[in-house]
Structure formats: C-alpha cells, structure tokens
C-alpha cells in the first residue's frame, strides 16, 4: 500500500519539464552547441533516448508525442546510414525532415521571448485604473448604448418565452442542437453584420429547448467576452455586439 502511495506521489508529467518533444530537442541541440542545420543525428538520437529512459526510471509519464519523435529520429538515423542511390547527389538530406520543423519552432520561441521583453501592461507599465482598465470593454460602449443588467436580460428572455405557443412545450423528443453549434451560428451572424438584436436571435426558434440553447449560447459567449450585450438608452432594445 505504501509502495503504491510513493509511486503516485512522485509521478511527474513530462510536460512539466519540457513543453513537448520539440522543446526537448531544442534543449539537446543547444546543450551540444551544434548548428541545427547540421545536427549530429546519431548522437542527438542517442541522447534523446537516454532522456526518455531516465524519465521512465524516475517514474515520469512519457507522453505519446515523445515516442513519435523518438521513432522519427531513429528513422532519420537509419536513412543516414544507407548509401545514397542518387548519383547526381541532389537527394535531400534526410535530416531536413526534422530540421525544418525545428527551425520553425525556434522562430516562435524567439517571438515569444520578444513579446515577453516588451513593456507589458500591469507588469511593467500601468494605467491609472490599473487592471480594471484592461478588463473593460475594448472600445468602450457603442454610441447610445449602455451595458445591460442581468435583470433586464431576464425580462427580455421572459418576453420571448411568452411569445412561444404553448403547444410546443409538449415536445419531449431529445434535442440534438448543441450550445456549441449555436455559438458558432451566432458568431457567423455577428461576423456578417457586426451586431444583432437579442430578439432576432430567437426569431427562428420554435421549441423551448431551442430558446434555452440560444440563451445559454449568448451567456457563454458573453462570459468568454466574445460578445457585448448592450441596451439602447432610449428604445430599450437589447442588442448584441461582437466582443
């Protein structure tokens, strides 16, 4: 019993050490101070394998991606050993299979570092309102609109439910429409038109389930800040804008 407890206690995910096989490969190439366009494939493959072995021995859970990379490296190594049948010598270096993605991955590592070196808001530079400033809506409120309160939204929703003929409420067939799908549809509408009234989104809905799915989709999108729900100051019409 104690033994099992120990095992779970020390189990580490490889991802905690390296963000995937590419990251481990970058680490090895760097450690060996070799040019990525001229990787000593046999030596790097061996070190890569030793790493996986060591990780297994200290009870680190080796994810599938690491094994795929191990297979790729071994394959390249074996191709390097085979004599070339191409007399003209324009056969591609087998190592390019790993060099190209590695070079691309490195570019983004540089890009990420470059971003971190910028004057980051709420870390290096601050606004008078601090964090709240950034959390606010990106554009401020559209002209003539104010942010809608939860109760106003509930009122509007009840109005819509009332409009639906009661006979549809008897529908008990399992519904297949998913919230995710509805989110996608609403995103498409907003993509085309920029904004849509709250009521319009329910115009095509006939069953209670449809209405609930639409409401859930709107709330989910608001939570993810994909949309802004606003109310016109004068007319009281609730309109949904792209976030």
């Amino acid at each position: 019993m104690e033994h099992i407890q120990d095992q779970t206690l020390y189990q580490v995910h490889l991802g905690d050490l390296f963000d995937g096989p590419m990251d481990l490969l970058v680490h090895l190439v760097k450690k060996n101070e070799v040019d990525i366009y001229d990787i000593p494939i046999a030596s790097i493959t061996q070190q890569y394998m030793e790493y996986l072995e060591w990780m297994k021995s200290v009870n680190i859970d080796v994810a599938g991606e690491f094994l795929v990379m191990a297979a790729t490296l071994t394959y390249i190594k074996s191709r390097m050993l085979l004599p070339s049948h191409d007399e003209e010598g324009d056969e591609e270096d087998p190592r390019m299979e790993i060099v190209r993605p590695l070079a691309e991955y490195l570019q983004f590592k540089y890009a990420a570092e470059d971003l971190m070196e910028r004057d980051r808001l709420d870390w290096d530079v601050f606004l008078r309102k601090g964090l709240n400033g950034v959390e606010a809506w990106p554009d401020g409120y559209p002209e003539g609109f104010t942010q809608v309160s939860l109760f106003q939204l509930i009122d509007a929703f009840q109005e819509i439910v009332k409009r639906v003929s009661p006979r549809y409420f008897l529908d008990v067939t399992p519904e297949t429409i998913s919230v995710r799908n509805r989110i996608s549809q609403i995103a498409d509408i907003l993509e085309d038109r920029g904004s849509v009234t709250f009521r319009e989104l329910f115009d095509t809905e006939v069953t209670k389930t449809d209405i609930i799915v639409t409401l859930l989709a709107i709330l989910e999108m608001a939570k993810l800040q994909l949309i802004r729900i606003m109310q016109h100051v004068e007319s009281g019409i609730i309109r949904i804008f792209r976030g």
């Binding site: 991802g15 993605p101 490195l106």
Partner: protein
C-alpha cells in the same frame, strides 16, 4: 480651441481604454485631425521633457497615458495583487497565434508538436485570443486570432508592429534564453 491640449489631456486622464483619434474628434467636434494630432504629440513631448512618471503612447489603435516602465517595480509594490503570469507554453502558443493568424488548433499543434487545446482555452479565457470563425473543413475547426487586449497588454500599436520572423531570427543568432 486654444485649450485643445488641456481638453485632450482630460479625456486621456479618464478614458479606460486607448482613445482613438476619431473618438476625440467626435467628442470635441473639431474637424481638424491634424490639430488633434499636433496636440497629442505636443503632450507626449511635454511628458517626456518634464520627466513625468507617465508617458503618452499609441497602443491598440488609440492613445493612452501609461506609467513609465522604469517605475514598474514601485507600482508592483503598491499593488497587492499580481496579474496571473502566462506559462512558457502559453507564451509560445500566443506567439504562434499572433504570427500565423487566422490559425487553427491543428496548425498550432503541428508547430509545437504537442496537444495545445488547454493552452488555447486559457488564452481564450484571458481574452488574449478570440474565435474568429470556423473553417469550412470536416468538423468545422475553430479559427483563432489575437484580440485588442493582446495589443494593449503587449504595448503594440497594431499587429504590423510585431517584428517579422526573419528579423527575430537575425536577432536570435544566439539561442533563446533557457529559463528552465
């Protein structure tokens, strides 16, 4: 308007998000964009030459007053809460979305060689990336792009201000820092 500069300064003082030139124009009902632009650059120069604790910067398509980066450590001491920091994986993923957008999850995973669903979700929740739509492919995969908040946080006027990948590579003749 002879006090144009002071009026614009007052707007910048209360604005919660970067103030667009067109917004200033419509608020002030001044037709002359150049006058506004001149007032803004004059303000920026004033803050600079007076060695103020803040400066005027152009970010995310607007103008904003921000504290100087060299005083960041004092403000961090004043504030008790710290913004959640992004992991290395998060930054890597964000960089890929920023440069390759509009981009699919599978594109990100192809470059990183590792599952990136969780990382993308975190970036989405933090408002740094957004769903731009869906590709007309099997499964209708989500298309990701960066947000205005991304520009605000990383002090970017627009996406064109990001250095090109080639420029980064030339800078990066040395290896990226290994913060491990």
């Amino acid at each position: 308007m002879d006090n144009l500069k002071a009026i614009i300064e007052s707007l910048l003082f209360v604005a919660e998000t970067p103030l667009k030139l067109d917004k200033i124009k419509s608020v002030l009902e001044v037709a002359d964009r150049k006058a506004i632009r001149d007032a803004l650059s004059s303000l920026a120069e004033e803050y600079e030459s007076d060695n103020r604790g803040f400066f005027l910067t152009e970010v995310a398509g607007g103008f904003q007053i921000r504290t100087r980066p060299e005083y960041g450590r004092w403000i961090r001491r004043l504030k008790e809460t710290r913004p959640p920091r992004l992991s290395r994986a998060g930054m890597e993923t964000l960089a890929i979305v920023a440069y390759k957008q509009p981009v699919l999850r599978s594109d990100v995973e192809f470059i990183r060689g590792v599952d990136s669903g969780g990382t993308l979700r975190t970036l989405l929740e933090r408002g740094l990336i957004r769903i731009m739509g869906r590709r007309d492919l099997p499964g209708r995969p989500i298309i990701y792009g960066t947000t205005r908040k991304f520009l605000e946080i990383f002090d970017l006027k627009d996406l064109n201000e990001l250095p090109t990948l080639k420029e980064l590579k030339d800078l990066g003749e040395t290896w990226p820092n290994d913060s491990r």
